[in-house]
Structure formats: C-alpha cells, structure tokens
Subunit: 295 residues, 2 copies
C-alpha cells in the first residue's frame, strides 16, 4: 500500500487497499478486514456509492545544503546487499560553502506514514575472509538541530527522529511512544507517594489510564499537521532536550551526522549529512485520496 | 574501560579508570571527575588505602543450539567496513536437529554493562555502481521467546532486548527506559481525569515524579541481579507482551530471528539466529574488581 501510494502524487487518484495477509498484517491502510473474505461486497458498495472519500495528509520534504542533487535510493527494489567500506559512502564533494549551498529542493516523495531521520549504522566484519562473515550493526546516536515552526534551533542527540502524519501515528510512531501498564503503574505509585489521598491502585484503573494515554498518541489522518517524536533522547550537559515531541505544521531539521539518512515510509531514503537541512510541512495538494467503507 | 574490562576475567585483578575526556564523556566507570585534573591525589589515596573495593557484577552467557562453535566478532578492532550480500552471513550449516544441538557453551565474555539482542539490519545499495553509494539500514523487528527464571516461554516482537547489570543500568538501559517530564505530565493529567480530588499539576511536582521514576531505573553495580527491558514492544494478536521489563537472576532467550546478533558491552558480538538459546546469569566469580574513591 505504501509502495503504491509512493507512486501517486496529488489528491485526485484514489488508492484502495485490500488486506491479503490478515494473519500477519493488521492492514491499517486497507479497507476493513471482513472485505478480505467477501471482496465482492466491497466492490458493490463502491459502485453504489456507499462509502466516503478520505484524504490522508502527507508530509512533503524540502532539502537544502547538500551541495548536489539529492539522489533517492529506492529501497523496495534493491536486493539485500552490503557494500565495501563505509567511508566510500561519505560524500566526496567538498563541503559546501554557505554561498554555494543549493537552495531548498522539493523532494519527489510524499510521506504517508512518516519520515524517519537516523544515523546509518556502522557494520563490522569478522577477521576471517574465508568463513561466512556475520556483520552486525551497532546503534550510534544521531545528532541534529531542530526548529519547530520557525522557532529557535535546539541541539538534540538521540536514537533518531520520527515525524509522522495522522496515518503514521498508528505505525512506527505508536510503537516508539506508547507506554506499558507496568510503566504506568510504577509512575502512578511514585506520584502517589506522600499523598494523603493515596489509594491502592486498581489494575483496571492502571489499564484504563494506559489505554487512554496510548490512544492520545493517535490522531486523524485528515488532520493537516505532523507529530514529531525523538527516540531515546540523550540528555546531558551538552544536549538539553526540553521538548521531546509535539504537534506542529512545520519542522526543520539540520543534520549534524556523519552518515545519516532520511527514510520516507520505510521505502525511499536520502542521504542527510552534516549541514543539510530538511524542512517538513503538510500541503493539502499532497493528500492521498482513499475510501472509508463501513465495517 | 569496557575494552579493558573485557580482557579481565574473574574478580581478582582490579581495573581502575580515569576520565581523559570529560568534555565528551560522563565517565561513569571511572574514578570521580576531579581526579582527572589532579591524578596524583588519586594515586596518594590508593597508596594510603583511602578507598574501598567495589565488585561490579557482570553477566555470563551460555549459548546453545547453534550447531557449531560460536565465533565471537571483536568489534573494537575491526575497521568500519561493509560486506557483500547479507545472505552470505546466514549460517550455511544445515539446521541442527534437536538431538544434534550442541549443549550450552559458556561464552568467553562477561558483560559489565549489558547484553543487547537485536536483528542485524538490512542495508540497501544505490543502483548506480559508479557513484559513491550510500547504504542505509532500516530497523526490522526482532522476534524472540523469553523465559524468566525458568518460567514459561513467551513470544516477543520488538526493536530488541536489553539485559543489563547495575553498572549498565546507567547506560543504554537508562536511555531506553527513562521518561521525559512531558510524558509524565500527559500521563498524570489523564490519570486525574474525573477524579474529585484533582488539583492542577505543579511543574515542580511533575519534575520530581519524573526524576524519581528515572532514578528507580538505576540500581547498584553490587547487586547480583540483572534487569531486562524490551525496546519498543510490538503488541498484537500474536505477540502479547505482558511483562516488558523486570529484575531477575536468570533469563533465557530463544532467537526466532533471521539474522540476529547478541552484542556484549557494544564490543563483542555473536551470531544469534533462529533456534539458538542464550541463558544469561550472574556469577559472583565474574565480578569486576574496581575502586571507590570519595568525591
């Protein structure tokens, strides 16, 4: 569904998904599950107009300061393979001088779920060239500066930045931000300490608070705004991170990474190295046209 | 410090660290910061016995079901490089039959901070062989079964599993599990809804609760137990994750991953693929001897 959506620009071509693998996929972007088993019902309703249109907002990305045209890497069609020597991947073009920097360029992608910014991972090899050599990747923190709605730039160090739409708020963003009842219970117990009105915590109450909290992370695909969240922020003397997440209509990210990338909907990626600035916004013209059938 | 500790087995050889880069490193494992500027003071105290010994517990790992001797990859000494074709890394030995499986083997490592289990990441290449080609890694969920203290096996799907010592509870584990005051405030507001005794939330109160919660994630290096936490658990019809984290003295993990690894202290990694079982415990004999100087 994401792959198909990635080929459709503009708001006029409807994209309708059917969940063909209900055992393994929740199919958030598809028509309700029951139509997988009686698709003719869905066709009937569509023909008879028993549905409504739903425009799912998407994120557009302007990229500046790369010094050259950003070349998208299509991750869907590449085979799984690894390359020699990480340093060959770093840009060999001389660092762009301020005056030389290419102006912001609108990238040929529209994020239906999210834009993920992260550091490419270092991989190491086994010393024995004859044996099949495992390579393992270690997470490295990512360094960014972030400006919300043209606000002041803030330094951040973390495991990555996720910027999602309402559609994407049920995807990776949800997994990053949701809390488990165990954590909620621990927290509520701490909050209660020393309180005269403290009562024992009912499990049902803890479950309810947890559920409501997690539900608050989800918003409508039709809302023209984006939600950003920072994975595993590292806070110390240098990197104070006052705002870890929030809603906005415009977000600018300046990369301070050696070897980072921006991945759109898990499908297309762009190099996003030191000095490059990505500006993320929502434009009505980019909304993806889908349908809402009743359950 | 971690590299040095990785060369020291047993509890009899003291390892003392000095923070040589206080601008960039907090030096949790080193003697207090002030001694970086007057190291002779530290030497004086050590000579005069003005210190106490501190034994930091470490995790030992037994690995079974690999079908061959597990070959450690030393990540410290490898250059940054990437290899061709991910599938070459998958084991070419035939899948071990139950009767054939090698018995649990004690690995030649002791984790001072933590053991991280995760899926190796897929990397994709740019289609143009002539241009410097960026490779980007996408996170893929990891599949495991986990048994706590010889309890029943539970299926888990997540971004990875972190098992740490008291020493490691200030490291990666802390970043994974800590909460920001923003999240705490959102949660407390939800918990208050509909409560007759609801009072406006003081920022100082929220900060205090946040601080206490985060402090509760840290435990003493001298406690002979391990803390496991699951990063970004994915919970759905198949993968119910009732216990996301906790303390224990014994943890067994069965890999259900294609291409996973276990990384000890960010320094040594082991292949950890489908069917392999790692058992993590703490043994007094493995404790690392360090010193405690007063501030």
């Amino acid at each position: 569904m994401l792959l198909t959506a990635s080929k459709v620009f503009g708001r006029h071509k409807p994209v309708i998904g059917v969940n063909t693998d209900p055992e393994r996929s929740l199919g958030h972007l598809c028509i309700p599950l029951r139509y997988t088993y009686c698709f003719s019902d869905a066709l009937k309703k569509l023909r008879q107009g028993e549905f409504r249109w739903q425009w799912r907002h998407r994120i557009r990305v302007h990229l500046a300061g790369m010094g050259f045209n950003p070349r998208p890497v299509d991750l869907h069609e590449q085979q799984l393979s690894l390359e020699q020597h990480c340093s060959a991947h770093r840009s060999t073009t001389p660092a762009a001088v301020d005056g030389d920097k290419a102006g912001p360029e609108l990238l040929p992608v529209r994020a239906l779920n999210e834009v993920l910014c992260g550091e490419s991972l270092s991989s190491r090899t086994c010393p024995n060239p004859h044996a099949p050599s495992p390579t393992f990747s270690l997470p490295r923190p990512s360094y960014y500066e972030i400006s919300i709605n043209d606000g002041p730039w803030e330094k951040h160090k973390n495991s990555g930045l996720n910027v999602c739409t309402g559609t994407g708020s049920k995807a990776w963003s949800y997994n990053i931000n949701k809390l488990a009842s165990q954590e909620v219970e621990d927290l509520l117990l701490i909050a209660q300490r020393g309180s005269r009105a403290a009562q024992p915590l009912e499990p049902a109450f803890v479950e309810q608070v947890t559920q409501h909290y997690n539900e608050s992370l989800i918003f409508s695909p039709e809302e023209p705004r984006i939600f950003f969240s920072i994975r595993e922020p590292i806070v110390n003397r240098v990197f104070t991170s006052s705002l870890h997440r929030g809603f906005t209509t415009k977000l600018a990210v300046r990369s301070r990474c050696w070897d980072a990338c921006m991945v759109v909907d898990g499908g297309t990626s762009f190099e996003f190295n030191d000095g490059a600035v990505a500006t993320l916004t929502v434009d009505e013209d980019d909304a993806l046209c889908t349908v809402l059938l009743e359950e």
